[in-house]
């Protein structure tokens, strides 16, 4: 799983509370699968693109290398073509030297006839320029009428070189009539090794030559004069007119770099109107002039054509892979999001309180485990709900809640509570008059009303003891003004009984009467019982006092249904002094009552 997606998912899970409606969940899961899909496809796309770029650039540099190799080969072919031509001219010269007609003409010393004979030779040999010099390099005749000193100069320079180095031939590049030529001088022996004079032969490096090289090498050739280095001028080219200015500029720059002895790349790429050209620039030394630039160029696109084909098929493969990956990712994402959506929906069911429905995901993976865990959770929740239900009926909701919260542990704590004891008077007489089911129905009706009055004031029913009720205020849950609440509950019980009695009167039954004792004391509160069965309750002297106060209400001389102790009165007063709102009770002192097991009598009051 990619880290980013994980981060997003966890943050969602932690920051959002579950239990929202189903629709946003579904939307979010759809987005999640979309993210996974996007990420996977993004990664795949990036990989494919990277591959494509790597292959493409490898192809590019490959094509350049190939073009450069071709250009270097072409440069060697140019040299070789020139060399072959020179060799041919040299051997032609030796054949010419053996021509009897030449010897006859030379004997006459008639240089004009010699010139016309040389014209014949130009056709035989295919060299446009043939000149003859004497042994000292003085011009005798030339196939070209009016070859002046400037034009014969390069030949004479070659003759001097050949003489100086005792060479059988000498060649070089020069301008003849401002056109680029390759020149060669060959001795005219008469007889060997006596040098009578020198043949000077030349052929032009022109467009025809360049085209011929292009035919064999498929390389564009351009010769540029560097006589004015800033503005090279064109000597010969195979290129179209539109390309020439660019090539001329590039040659000027290359020449500057050469002149400055700067490092130059073997080849460079020049953009010409029709294509990008791999370009190799050579500099050819000249006889008595600045060098000429030989620019060899090869278009890049034909070189790249096979590579482009490869790249295209690579691209097609990549697209196919991408499409397949998209389908697969969709299937996988659906395989993940479908059960997750199911689980989410099931969570909604559980949140709505349905613990009975089970989810079935037929998978062995983590999602399957999650489904099992959810089913276990549903079972657990159902069980807990059942327990809670039973608990609610057997103990008060507050006790049940505290049990649910704190667990049913043995033990206890000392705290101040207000204990209320209520007893139905004359119940024994009643029980003799009524049949048991009716009796129990009446009792339950009575207890229900009393419980309602107690709970209305925050009291907790501790237990029913036959027709008697024991209720606690301030335990097990601490609450404000427990004494006040207990007295209010007692008065409420009185009123509830009045209304119950009115109902009973209409039913033709005798009225009921109660006695209530309320005491406030520090007692021990906690779960009391065995490990199997526990009761939350309070124990202590204060409980006995409360029961005792309840039984005091039976004394007719007090004329009171509700009797409380001085401790409760004091608690009510503390409350009033603390400034909290208190109920208005009237306390009528009844004196002191003796409680069994207590040395000191208890000061008691009637409450109304």
């Amino acid at each position: 799983m990619p880290p980013t997606a994980l981060a997003v998912v966890t943050s969602d899970a932690t920051t959002r509370h579950p239990g929202l409606t189903v629709i946003p969940h579904a939307l979010r899961f759809r987005r999640f699968s979309l993210r996974v899909l996007t990420l996977l496809l993004g990664l795949l796309f990036a990989t494919l693109m990277a591959t494509y770029v790597v292959v493409s650039s490898a192809n590019d540099s490959n094509a350049r290398d190939h073009a450069r190799a071709n250009l270097e080969l072409a440069a060697r072919i140019v040299q070789s073509a020139i060399r072959q031509r020179l060799d041919f001219l040299a051997s032609s010269a030796s054949v010419m030297a053996g021509d009897d007609a030449l010897k006859q003409v030379l004997r006459t010393g008639d240089n004009r006839t010699l010139a016309s004979l040389l014209q014949s030779y130009t056709q035989r040999v295919g060299a446009p320029v043939i000149a003859l010099y004497d042994a000292d390099g003085q011009p005798l005749a030339s196939s070209e009428p009016g070859m002046d000193d400037e034009n014969t100069g390069p030949f004479r320079s070659l003759i001097r070189t050949a003489l100086g180095k005792d060479l059988a031939e000498s060649s070089g590049f020069a301008y003849l009539r401002n056109k680029l030529h390759v020149l060669i001088v060959v001795p005219l022996y008469a007889p060997h090794p006596n040098i009578f004079g020198w043949f000077g032969l030349a052929f032009p490096i022109d467009r025809a030559f360049a085209e011929k090289i292009k035919d064999t090498t498929h390389v564009e050739l351009t010769y540029l004069s560097l006589d004015s280095p800033q503005q090279p001028h064109l000597l010969a080219t195979t290129l179209g007119q539109a390309a020439i200015p660019t090539v001329v500029n590039a040659a000027a720059i290359a020449n500057q770099a050469r002149a400055d002895h700067l490092p130059r790349p073997a080849t460079e790429i020049i953009d010409l109107p029709d294509d990008r050209y791999v370009t190799l620039t050579w500099f050819q030394a000249m006889l008595g002039a600045n060098p000429v630039a030989l620019v060899l160029q090869r278009p890049l696109s034909p070189e790249l054509a096979p590579a482009r084909e490869l790249e295209n098929s690579l691209l097609l493969t990549a697209l196919a892979a991408f499409a397949v990956a998209t389908l697969l990712a969709l299937v996988i994402a659906r395989g993940v999001s479908q059960p997750v959506r199911q689980l989410a929906a099931h969570t909604q069911t559980i949140a709505a309180g349905d613990y009975a429905t089970r989810i079935t995901l037929d998978r062995a993976d983590e999602l399957g485990q999650l489904a099992d865990a959810m089913n276990s959770m549903s079972a657990g929740l159902a069980e807990r709900d059942q327990v809670r239900d039973l608990l609610d009926k057997n103990v008060s909701p507050e006790v049940a809640a505290q049990l649910m919260r704190d667990g049913a542990a043995l033990g206890g704590e000392e705290r101040e509570v207000t204990i209320l004891f209520a007893d139905l008077r004359g119940f024994t007489t009643l029980s003799e008059k009524l049949p048991p089911p009716e009796l129990l129905a009446l009792l339950n009706r009575y207890l229900d009303r009393m419980s309602g009055a107690i709970e209305a004031h925050g009291g907790v029913i501790d237990k029913f003891i036959g027709d008697a009720i024991m209720a606690l205020f301030g335990a097990p849950v601490t609450q404000d003004a427990p004494a006040d609440r207990a007295l209010a509950a007692a008065l409420e019980m009185e009123r509830a009984l009045v209304s119950l009695n009115a109902e009973l009167a209409t039913e033709g039954r005798p009225p009921l009467a109660i006695g209530v004792g309320v005491n406030t004391a520090r007692v021990v509160a906690g779960n009391i019982g065995s490990h199997r069965r526990l009761n939350y309750s309070v124990i202590g002297d204060g409980v006995n006092v409360a029961a005792r106060l309840q039984s005091e209400t039976r004394k007719p001389e007090y004329g009171a249904n509700i009797i409380t102790s001085a401790a409760t009165l004091a608690a009510c007063r503390r409350l009033a002094e603390s400034g909290l709102p208190v109920s208005a009770f009237s306390f009528r002192p009844l004196g002191y009552a003796q409680v069994k097991g207590r040395a000191e009598p208890v000061e008691i009051y009637a409450v109304s």
């Binding site: 009897d100 007609a101 006859q104 003409v105 006459t108 008639d110 004009r112 006839t113 016309s116 004979l117 014209q119 014949s120 130009t122 056709q123 035989r124 295919g126 446009p128 320029v129 196939s143 070209e144 009428p145 003849l176 009539r177 056109k179 052929f203 032009p204 022109d206 025809a208 030559f209 011929k212």
Partner: protein, 224 residues
Amino acid sequence: MPRIFLHSPAPVLACLLAFTCHTSRLAAGNVVVIVKDTKGQPVTDAVVSLIPLEASAPAPLHPPVEPVVISQHGEEFDPYVTVVAVGTHVSFPNLDSIRHQVYSLSKTKPFEIPLYGSGTEQSILFDRPGIVALGCNIHDWMSAYLVVVETPHFMKTAGDGVARLAELPAGRYRLDVWHPRLAGESRRDLVVAAADAATQTISVTLKPDRRIRRAPDGAGGGYK
């Protein structure tokens, strides 16, 4: 044995020839020969000759007294094609300021005139019938043909491809047509009647012209 003449123009020679023919026979006819190529274009410089087939004795040739002239002018032969009867002297005057070296390796008459300039003329006797291809050792592009025939009845076609042969004694003849570029042979028999003016149209197949062209003046024959 070479003899030296002052050169004389060709038309005079032709008149002379015609006159001789006219006087030799009484009953005579004319033949007009039109030479065309396969495209119907007139062929210039075709040599037309009529050889009598029935004569008991060979017709007298009457070669001219003055040599026929093939000059060198502007580093070319002039004319390109010349036809003469057996026994004719031909001179090769050089009208140029440079020298030439005329030769032939043809079996009809192998010869060479060593390198010579203007002012001197050498004439050569052509005593056997046949084709003589002429060249110059100095100038490869110089080329000419001399056709030596064994009959007094011959003519070269002009620009219109027409050759007129007049004053032909009546009788059977073999008509030969030759041209430097002729493919194969072209000959036919024909009968010439007195006062006849028959027209013979002859179609010939010519090979392409492969003469060396002189290089244009100045630089740049170009790379070949």
